[in-house]
């Protein structure tokens, strides 16, 4: 087996540390992520799925355990620095975009993810055609709204924009945190299909939290079941392909 692109070793996190209410959220997570993996993650509320993403993205530092990126220990690297190789789409469409900036301004910001922001003109016009072509791949009319403030977009368009922003500069790790959950079933299915296309075409390494068991089964090459702060099942390759919806229902 090749060296994993990202690895978690015995990750534990606590809340309300040093108080009577102290409790452990992640109770020793071990996870090796290979380049090109598309991992779907399911689990009940409070299982620790979002905490796991916060630990991976660096917005929460673990209380114990080690995180490796391409073999390097990055446990204490800040979220801002991890953004050089990692991007994230949030569940709430409002969290992923700047509301009073236009669609193309948002894309331009995202295109320089993790890079130094220089004191030179932003060069928005140079990128317009590229952005229009990119927006058109979402098939929801986003390409006609490049100069619209994102607060005036529909939830579906806004979330599609968040996804484009997360992938416009190829991330080594893409985190999708129930990114279709706030949308209606049609829009959600549409965005999910576009997401899958992009991930398979660009061979992205992605982790996706979802409450749709069907989506968790249909997409990706690996499926994790989280429960009470631990990974209780890890289905890879053929084991995942053989999995059925009723098997899955019994597990959570």
């Amino acid at each position: 087996m090749t060296e994993p692109i990202f690895a978690l070793k015995d990750i534990k996190t606590l809340v309300n540390r040093n108080t009577p209410n102290e409790s452990m959220i992640l109770k020793g997570i071990n996870l090796d992520i290979q380049a090109g993996d598309f991992i779907t993650i399911i689990g009940t509320n409070g299982a620790g799925k979002s905490t796991l993403f916060n630990v991976i993205s660096g917005s929460l530092l673990p209380d114990s355990g080690t995180i490796y990126y391409k073999g390097k220990n990055i446990t204490n690297l800040t979220a801002e620095k991890r953004s050089r190789f990692l991007s994230r789409v949030f569940q709430d469409p409002k969290l992923g975009t700047a509301p009073r900036m236009t669609v193309s301004e948002n894309l331009l910001l995202a295109a320089r993810r993790g890079e130094r922001r220089r004191l030179i003109p932003r060069g928005l016009k140079l990128h317009r055609e590229e952005f229009a072509a990119l927006a058109a791949t979402m098939h929801n009319g986003l390409e006609k709204r490049l100069d619209t403030f994102t607060e005036n977009l529909s939830g579906g368009q806004r979330q599609a924009l968040s996804f484009l922003m997360a992938t416009i500069k190829r991330p080594d790790i893409l985190l999708l945190d129930e990114h279709t959950a706030a949308l209606d079933p049609n829009t959600s299915a549409h965005l999910m299909a576009a997401t899958n296309n992009r991930i398979t075409q660009d061979h992205l390494t992605a982790l996706m939290i979802t409450h749709h068991l069907e989506d968790a089964l249909r997409y990706g090459n690996r499926l994790l079941v989280l429960d009470n702060g631990k990974i209780i099942h890890d289905f890879k390759g053929a084991a995942k392909t053989d999995l059925t919806l009723s098997d899955l229902r019994k597990l959570i």
């Binding site: 993205s57 979220a79 301004e105 922001r117 220089r118 004191l119 030179i120 003109p121 932003r122």
Partner: protein, 298 residues
């Protein structure tokens, strides 16, 4: 006519205050009380330096730098110290009051007999009050152009995103703490520069000249927004200066009605309150329309 010229001149000079506060209030979404301290700080630094023989232009730049420092302190308190921004601003503002007294040594310093930015030869040949219009125009033009350039750089866009959505900004690697600190510095620098110009124009610096500055600044921002509506960011900056001029003309009108300059803070607050209530009043009026219609039908 003289009064109108004076109002326009004052509006232009004071608009630097509005532009400064725009950076924190509208772009960073922070109500920064530091300005109540950095405005008189700018006046105190400039006037003290000028009375000690420093060139007025250098003295004004020194005032700008002092404002940068004031903003830096509030920025550090609120980002690294995690003190709520409103409280951090009040702390710095209160501290600056004592600093201003230390700088000036007394509560009022006159510039009588000293050369200021307004005593250049070509300005003195102009009709009354045109000196402040010319100095104001030059300052507003230079600063607006610089701000528009800045906000349209990669860095400036990251600055805007920081205020607009800090979670998103962080997830794209923008150092939001640093952006907030720099924004507060720039904002207070402009406010202090404005304080130094106003002091030089008035011919004195006074320890109490900061009272009410935040209301005046907000008034020019909000009058500009109410008067001109939906605009691009660059146009909004121009609207702030126009708002500041409109505000001065409004004050002029009120003073003509017989109120005294002692009432200025009361008037400022009332003008700002009305402007801030306008959107709400508009809602209420719209709500009543169907009501009136149904009454007529009966």
């Amino acid at each position: 006519m003289n009064l109108l010229t004076s109002a326009i001149g004052q509006g232009l000079l004071w608009s630097l205050l509005g532009l400064g506060l725009y950076l924190s209030f509208r772009i960073l979404n922070i109500t920064d009380m530091t300005v109540e301290g950095s405005f008189p700080l700018g006046g105190a630094v400039a006037v003290t330096l000028i009375t000690n023989g420093v060139n007025p232009l250098l003295a004004s730049l020194a005032a700008f730098s002092a404002g940068l420092l004031a903003g830096f302190i509030t920025g550090i308190l609120t980002t690294k110290g995690k003190i709520p921004s409103l409280l951090a601003g009040i702390l710095t503002m209160t501290a600056i009051y004592s600093v201003n007294l230390r700088i000036m040594g007394k509560s009022n310093i006159s510039l009588l007999g000293y050369r200021t930015l307004f005593s250049a030869n070509f300005l003195r040949k102009l009709p009354d009050y045109f000196d402040s219009v010319v100095v104001g125009l030059i300052a507003v033009f230079l600063i607006t152009v610089c701000l528009i350039f800045f906000l349209n750089t990669e860095f400036g866009q990251a600055f805007i995103a920081t205020g607009d959505n800090p979670t998103m900004a962080k997830s794209f690697g923008i150092l939001t703490d640093r952006m907030t600190i720099l924004g507060l510095m720039l904002s207070n620098g402009l406010v202090a520069l404005c304080g130094s110009l106003i002091s030089q124009n008035n011919g004195y610096a006074d320890i109490s000249m900061g009272t009410g500055t935040i209301v005046i600044a907000l008034a020019s921002i909000i009058i500009g927004e109410v008067a001109f509506g939906e605009l691009t960011l660059s146009q909004r900056l121009v609207a702030v200066s126009l708002g500041s001029i409109i505000y001065r003309i409004l004050l002029l009108g009120v003073l003509q009605l017989g109120l005294s300059t002692n009432d200025l803070n009361l008037i400022s607050s009332i003008v700002l309150t009305i402007c801030m209530l306008l959107p709400r009043l508009n809602e209420l009026v719209h709500l009543r329309e169907p009501l009136f219609r149904s009454l007529k039908n009966d």
